[in-house]
Structure formats: structure tokens, C-alpha cells
Symmetry: C2
Subunit: 168 residues, 2 copies
């Protein structure tokens, strides 16, 4: 890697560190048990047919389990879900404990009823780049539960919205 490339990567990281994102928890059932990870890259791509995208940065561990699963659940998290978002963003922390309130969908995927929305998905296309993978997934089913205030990730911290919309 040249110095110029290093500088570009650093500037890229600096730019995106300040770019806010919603927070999702993606989970799948595997032969070795449930796996899950916190993702700040989930975005709506198409409403008809319903499809979303996200990326993961490795093909091992929890990300590998999700990439290898036939179907998985994408939970869109609220401010009230910040503690479980933090747990699933750290490696080695306790996951899928009884206290976290996980259940299983009739179709077998892990399901967190405390999330305001859960989308059951199947990957349509996975595009590798560097050590990362960009996933386009079709949405097979959606459970929308409530409208808690959303959770935001920016500058390596979990944040909440300010109370009032901006005047534009």
C-alpha cells in the first residue's frame, strides 16, 4: 500500500465516521447455533419487490454465519434497544441469553420481539470487495411492532434524535 492509498483510506474513514446511520441487528440460525451482529449499513433498496442492502466486513465468525445461511432476520433497532446493539457490536460478549428476550420464528430464524421491526430476508446477490461483502436481500416477511424512537450510530457512539424536525 502506498502512502497515497493510506491517506485516501484515512480520509474515507474520517468522512464516514461523521455520517449517521440507523442501527440493525442481523441474526441467523446455523448448525453451530444462532449468530448475530450489529450493522449500521442496512438500507432500503426497493419497496416492490421489497429488498434491502447491507454490508459485512469479514466472511468469518458471525458475518460468515449470516452469509452462509439460507435466510436471516434483519431487526431495525430503537433507542430502547441500544444495550443489545452494544452487546452485538462487541466480539466475545454474551449473545442470545435468556435475558435478551430472543425467540425463534416458525421458519427457524432468531427473532427479537423487542425490536420495532424485523424483516425475514434471503440474499439475492453478494458482491465482494476487499475483505467486505455487499449483500442485496429480498424481504420475505416483515413484522412491524411499534414506533419507538430510532437509534443512530455516528462517530463510534449510539445516539438519539433531537426532539423536533429541522425547519427547511
Amino acid at each position: 500500500m502506498t502512502d497515497q492509498t493510506t491517506a485516501l483510506t484515512d480520509r474515507f474513514k474520517t468522512a464516514f465516521r461523521q455520517h449517521p446511520a440507523g442501527v440493525a441487528l442481523i441474526a441467523a440460525s446455523t448448525s453451530e447455533g444462532p449468530v448475530g451482529l450489529t450493522a449500521s449499513s442496512v438500507a432500503s433498496v426497493s419497496a416492490d419487490p421489497p429488498a434491502l442492502s447491507f454490508s459485512v466486513t469479514r466472511a468469518t465468525g458471525s458475518a460468515g454465519g449470516i452469509l452462509g445461511a439460507d435466510t436471516f432476520t434483519v431487526h431495525l433497532l430503537s433507542e430502547q434497544n441500544a444495550p443489545i446493539a452494544a452487546v452485538f457490536s462487541r466480539s466475545g460478549s454474551e449473545r442470545f441469553t435468556p435475558e435478551q428476550g430472543w425467540t425463534t420464528l416458525p421458519t427457524g430464524e432468531p427473532y427479537l420481539p423487542a425490536a420495532p421491526a424485523a424483516l425475514r430476508c434471503r440474499a439475492l446477490t453478494t458482491v465482494p470487495i476487499g475483505a467486505s461483502s455487499l449483500v442485496l436481500a429480498e424481504v420475505l416477511d416483515v413484522v412491524v411492532d411499534n414506533h419507538d424512537t430510532p437509534l443512530i450510530y455516528v462517530d463510534r457512539a449510539f445516539r438519539a434524535l433531537a426532539a423536533d424536525p429541522l425547519e427547511v
Copy 2:
């Protein structure tokens, strides 16, 4: 479309309406002049090599101009940029006016110096789904200027962050 499919699309839209996102302004130079659009789907995919993703919902108009351009600029917007984000999210509103402060990069793409970060990009892969396209783009250059507070889009409104990080 069956009733069940309609209901799924509705539930999908309801779920993502509450999912917050950063706001970007993507712009390109075309033979018919500059084009631009506000996007809430821009996400970092890989830092090495630097790459990002976004989606557009049509292949005509401004989106078609960006999809057809060799290179384009992705501006990550701040709370202070909310007025121009609103202009570029409405069709028919005045764009690329002198008052908006646009300049042009030496490589020819439209550039908005008032944005905290601008990334010059080239599409690597475009995956169509329904009427939408998911784009994976390599990042050729990054200009990072300042650290204004970020701009957030949720529930069809532009919002700001609450002042303090959440305790988790």
C-alpha cells in the same frame, strides 16, 4: 399483485420509514448539464479499498444521469446543508444555482464545498431490482473539510442529533 404482496410492501415501507439514515447529495456532469439527487442510502462498504454503496429508485432523470456517468461525487451532508438537501429531494426545484455555491472539480464533477465531505466515485457494479438499482462504487478521492453536526432523515423529515451520546 396479490393482497398479501401489497400488505408486505406496506409493512416494508412502514418499517423503513422509522429507520434513520444519513443524507447525501450525489451529483454528476452529463452532456445535458449537471444532475444531482438527495440519497438516504449511502453506506460505507469497505475502507481498503475505499468503497460505498447507495441505491436509486429509477433509471431516468437525475438518477439516470448519475448511473450513466463515468464518475460522480457523493457529498455527505451536515445539519447546515438541510436546505440544499430539501431542494435536491424535490423534482422541479431549482438546482445548481449560483447561490448554492457549486464549483467543479478539476476532473469535471460537480462539487459542493459547503458539504463536510465529498467523495469522488466510479461505479463498480450495479445490481437492478424492480425499478431500483443498487450501486457499489469505488472511491477515487475524498475531500474532508469540517465536522459540522450530521443531518438525519427519518419519517420523511430532516432531523438533527440529540446533544449527548446514549449511555449503554
